[in-house]
Amino acid sequence: MSTIVEVNRLSKSFGSKQALSNVSFTIESGSTTALVGPNGAGKTTLFSVLCGYLRPNSGSVKILDKPLGHPSLFGKLTALPQDAMLDPRFSIQKQLCFYGVLQGLNKIEALKDTTRVLELVGLSDNHNSQINELSHGMRKRVCIAQALLGKPQIVLLDEATAGLDPLNAREIRSLISSLSDEVSFILSSHDLAELERLCSHVLYLDKGVLSAHNRNEQIGSSKYITLQLHEQYKDAKELLKQLSGVLHISQSQNKEFIIEYQSCFEQFDIHLLKYCYKHNWQYRQVVNGHTLENQLFQKD
């Protein structure tokens, strides 16, 4: 794996408001990275800096070992920027072909690629539509399609599934998942369940300050399992503590337990499920490690 994004001590302020403060991180190739944080945390600012839309006040960014805006990045780094729209005077096909040609494809290749990406986002019947004839969700899918033109290596998607109906959101998620072996995605979203499914690496921004989380990190000699039960069973926490191999139990929500266990304990998950069966507990979900929500917001 090689480093594809390297951000060093990046700061950006708007007047007196510090949008990004000394942000540093690296992203390795082949990883799908989530960028999360509350509204106004600086996610879109960070995206805008990475895409070269905004100039940082200080710090440096290297993408594929090149500085921001370097011509060799054209077509390799693509993005779905927030609130950006194609020109309503031209058909979608014409504009996507034009983008393809700018990326170095000839006209025939650009047309082929336009057909491919429109098929990928489920808009093969809308080649000749203009952008203002489409619904909000379809517009977003067109914008995702333009980000997939050519052979991008890094794709930044800012709120890719926001405003999409569940079926289309699911299709976009499966599209990201299917392409994630060839393309490194950086996703910003408020949907933690979505990010949980797609991302191996999380960048958490709050008030412009960043903290990074590795989803599958093992700390010391213990591992974690998050168990969500169907109901609030009597004495469940106490009984779980008695399970062999368990080091610590904490309750993140009403029916959700974070179980810390000895990493040397083999097949602990099966052991745990058998224990649930023994006590006649119905479980809803078992997560290997922490849920993303707990990882980000659990204080203890």
């Binding site: 805008s48 070269g52 839309y53 054209f74 950006a84 729209m85 020109d87 700018l102």
Partner: protein
């Protein structure tokens, strides 16, 4: 700067005018206006200039306002075309080129483009596209005037053709800084309308203010060279126009584009 991408951006601008409904409507309106110009001012003035009864008066009048050489042209239609086009095309350029980047910036379309080409390429490509559009329109109107003239006097066709080509070249040079000015104003303003308003204010209020100031500080007269079209009055006569006057639009265009590039590089998209 990658010339392939600049050229592609310029070509896309052409389709904006020639392949969109709005563009075609604009061309239709433009054609109607020029049909009126060809029919009335040009069509009616030529018999007046050519008639022996009035030609002496016309020559004397033109001599007083420095247009003696122009009136002596046998291709009278082209002489009147030159005078009308010299002032109307720069004004027309301000309107036609009022949305080079501002609309795309407001809509976010520039964000898609800037991931595929540099900002310098976008600015220069759009400028080139607008210049090609204006050259096409200048060429169409000049050829239409040539046809009117050839219909009146077929003997003038050959000499008129070479003169038409010269006028097309000269008018194309004249409009260049106006397009570059709009490219720059587009980067400063938040809408194409505001760009037009700013341009009009620059040419009216700006000019008046500078005239007033130079009354007290004469050395500031050099600042008049900032205004595109500063040389129009001097070249209108077509009488021993110095090369320097033809250099001014090139220098102004270069300066405006360089300023535009600097502004564009530093601004957020």
């Amino acid at each position: 700067m990658n010339t392939h991408r600049v050229w592609q951006l310029a070509l896309f601008e052409l389709t904006r005018l020639f392949a969109t409904k709005r563009g075609l409507l604009a061309i239709a309106a433009f054609a109607m206006v020029w049909l009126m110009i060809l029919h009335y001012p040009i069509g009616h003035a030529v018999p007046f200039l050519s008639s022996p009864q009035f030609s002496e008066v016309a020559h004397e009048l033109a001599g007083n306002i420095g247009l003696k050489k122009l009136v002596s042209w046998p291709q009278a239609e082209l002489a009147i075309y030159w005078l009308i086009a010299l002032y109307s095309f720069p004004l027309f350029a301000l309107f036609v080129c009022s949305d080079q980047t501002v609309g795309d910036r407001q809509r976010g379309t520039l964000r898609f483009l800037s991931l595929r080409c540099t900002r310098d390429e976008i600015l220069c490509g759009r400028f080139l596209g607008q210049l090609i559009i204006l050259i096409s329109l200048i060429t169409l109107t000049a050829l239409a005037t040539l046809s009117v003239m050839s219909y009146r006097n077929p003997d003038l066709t050959f000499s008129g053709l070479s003169l038409t080509l010269v006028l097309i070249l000269q008018l194309s040079i004249v409009v260049m800084p106006f397009i570059a000015l709009m490219a720059l104003l587009n980067l400063i303003c938040h809408s194409s309308r505001l760009s037009i308003v700013l341009a009009i204010l620059l040419f009216t209020l700006g000019n008046a203010l500078l005239s007033f100031i130079t009354g007290y500080l004469p050395f500031l007269e050099l600042l008049f060279y900032v205004f595109p079209g500063v040389q129009l009055l001097d070249i209108a006569s077509q009488d021993s126009v110095s090369l320097t006057l033809w250099l001014i639009p090139f220098l102004q265009t270069g300066a405006l584009l360089i300023t535009g590039i600097a502004v564009f590089r530093s601004r957020a998209l």
